[in-house]
Symmetry: C2
Subunit: 444 residues, 2 copies
């Protein structure tokens, strides 16, 4: 007996060199042991050999989307910091609001954000937040895949490095292997060099990577150059952070010399274009990263800057803002954009051989998308519709690690009504702000 047969799907295939996108019409996907066993023309498999059969006739099967940088539990503060500068966003809103945070908020917020992401076809997230033991319990329950990092600041002291290293150790491989854990110092502007070096030592000892914010704006890069004559990327290089695998969030303020540094290191960039537009942070040099062979993955950042956890929106905005920045609609083509959303995001997530393509041997993280809605019709181009027309609500069925998490828009692992009710009970407490009571000060 094998686990799951997806019958008669149209299967998206993004070429490994980003040159083209193909759709295999009317194919079956055979799944066993949490992995894809075969993708083959429909009708050849014996249905009685499978514990579960899903008829995907007319639907498009593609890899589950990967969110390479988020602060998922921040959904609990959604809508509370609008139309303000980055300085105010941190100092008057976000960091005072986060002083209200309790471990239970992280658990319920994580569940709420995971529910939103499953509904939008996101099966994996690299998350960077607090009380991540509670976040891990939420991931375990939801059935998704996650790379979790417990965020720390230099002001937390070196004991925070020890404590979050213990989290890395305790939760590595949790949830049946769906959870991986990394170290997660916040950023070079909130962590001093000794603190970063201590994180590197722990990461090396544990055999894990580091998930960190860096060069979020050109202003941060300029401030770092003024203060110490180094770009933030050079700070990461000198402190050894770039010697371990890294996810670098944002990197809008990259200097030309930074590109050569990053090209030599085992790093990936997490790109969250909605946040960049909304906070007027500038446009990240995605095409330059790719030109240097530096992987770039799609991300949403947290919902207080990005408002949603919708990777379709990140995909669309990435492509469009890159065209805008280049002054040419001919760059960041549809095959390139879909390559970035699938194989490149899998690289940044650290599982390039396992995720990002529906191929035999890959982990069975996949989604079924309905392109029959009137906003896709007539469907002259499946690939164009995926980049420019597809909404989270077009995702019908979501499978992670071979387990069905959503079927025909019904969540199977989470009770949305309970989650929303639980979060609502804390809304008033969470929305309180005392500007003199904040978890950190933004002064890059």
């Amino acid at each position: 007996m094998s686990d799951l047969l997806i019958r008669s799907a149209n299967v998206l295939q993004v070429a490994a060199d980003a040159s083209q996108v193909l759709v295999l019409r009317d194919h079956d996907i055979l799944i066993g042991g949490g992995r894809i066993e075969s993708v083959q023309p429909a009708g050849m498999a014996d249905q009685s050999h499978f514990r579960q059969v899903i008829d995907a006739g007319g639907l498009l099967a593609m890899p589950g989307l990967i969110n390479t940088h988020a602060h998922v539990p921040m959904v609990i503060f959604r809508g509370l910091a609008e139309d303000v500068s980055i300085e105010k966003w941190f100092n008057d809103y976000m960091w005072p609001l986060e002083s209200n945070l309790q471990p239970e908020d992280v658990y319920w917020g994580m569940l709420l954000g995971l529910a939103e992401m499953i509904r939008g076809g996101v099966t994996a997230v690299a998350d960077h937040y607090f009380y991540m033991d509670r976040a891990a319990q939420a991931v375990d329950k939801a059935g998704t895949r996650a790379l979790l990092g417990w965020a720390i600041f230099g002001s937390d002291g070196l004991e925070a490095v020890e404590k979050t290293a213990a989290f890395v150790r305790d939760y590595q491989g949790a949830a049946g292997g769906r959870i991986r854990t990394w170290m997660a110092p916040h950023a070079p502007y909130t962590c001093d060099d000794d603190f970063l070096r201590a994180c590197v030592r722990q990461a090396e000892a544990l055999g894990v990577g580091i998930h960190i914010h860096v060069s979020e704006t050109m202003g941060q890069t300029e401030a770092s150059l003024t203060k110490r004559g180094l770009t933030p990327i050079q700070v990461l290089e000198q402190t050894g952070v770039l010697e371990v695998p890294t996810i670098l969030a944002h990197v809008i303020g990259a200097m030309p010399g930074d590109m050569a540094v990053l090209a030599r290191k085992p790093t990936g960039i997490a790109h969250a274009p909605k946040t960049y537009l909304k906070l007027a942070m500038g446009t990240a040099p995605v095409r330059a990263f790719l030109g240097h062979g530096i992987p770039v993955g799609l991300a949403t950042d947290g919902a207080v800057s990005n408002n949603t956890l919708d990777i379709w929106e990140s995909l669309r905005l990435m492509a469009m803002t890159q065209k805008q920045e280049a002054g040419s609609p001919e760059v960041m083509t549809i095959p390139q954009a879909l390559y970035l959303a699938t194989r490149e995001s899998a690289k940044v997530f650290g599982l390039p051989a396992d995720l990002g393509a529906l191929e035999p041997g890959a982990l069975a993280d996949l989604i079924l998308v309905d392109l029959r809605g009137v906003h896709h019709q007539p469907l002259h181009s499946v690939s164009a519709s995926l980049v420019y027309n597809t909404a989270a609500s077009d995702v019908r069925t979501v499978i992670c690690d071979g387990q069905v998490l959503m079927r025909d828009r019904q969540l199977l692992t989470l009770d949305e009504a309970e989650i929303v009710a639980q979060v609502k009970t804390s809304m008033e407490r969470l929305a309180q702000r005392q500007p003199d009571r904040r978890i950190q000060v933004y002064n890059p």
Copy 2:
């Protein structure tokens, strides 16, 4: 007996000075004769006095969205011109494709686009295309409101001005008053001055306005300055176009002097930011227009550049690209963005006293939006969710002219399966391209 009672909605109120957004909790909306009779606290109305009652408990009522510039039937070519320059977009794709166009294509394409717009809460569209008698029949059937202009080029000769003036006359006030008609010369770069003057004479004689593309990019403005020492806006001024009410599509390439000209004229700007990003056309000076008192409305343009007809996406992108252009997240605030989506769009559409606000006396064009989905939760801010989180699929019920067009996601006036099937039968013919067979040449 009155027509329709919307019971227990939360009603969005956008201040007439754009300063704030309020939500009236638990209010009834009373509708009769196609207009709003009253917005009042729930429970006071006698339900037996109404032919129809809709329970809107938990839903947000707001004005139907207005699309101030589109080429709706172009949905039939959706996805056929991707990742190409504007020159190629016109000369190698769009204008060769449109040589395949037949009147029946416009009818079914218009129905398909109207279905997409109703599903996304758009109740009114200013449309600019060909065979508009067929488009008018589609609007009549769909039950929406439209301002229709039959697009003409200078190369069509002056008889095209006569012919489209006859269309204006014949269809003015059609569909029980839901259809208005204007003249629609394509653009200054495709219509010579005599042709534009002939359009103005017809518009004045008929008492109507002109819907036209102008200064779509800064490149067009520079080309016009080089060729004749006038900006495209100055060409419109000199030919008298700006003496009648106008909708000016795009106006990205506005020179400082153009602002003062436009500020004195009965004009409005249609703003379609997704098309601008996707075709790398530049950012329109929306804040400068508003600063000069020039109304700006939201638009989608056609689906071959914009891919969707989703005004929520236009709203979100307008706000974010204006923040980006200003280099400040503090500009184009949520109240301003919602003001632009409602009252300002109604001004550009030419019905400022009738549309854009749920107030007694206004036309009964309104939508019920469901903000209970997990992507809105917890709902700390209704107004932030409307701008940054709301998807077309959150619109549950759509009412235009007092008639219910969609109820709980079910279209009541259109048969989507039939429309999609009809359009599909023509897909192969519509997708043919012979570059030497085009309806026009782009050479501004």
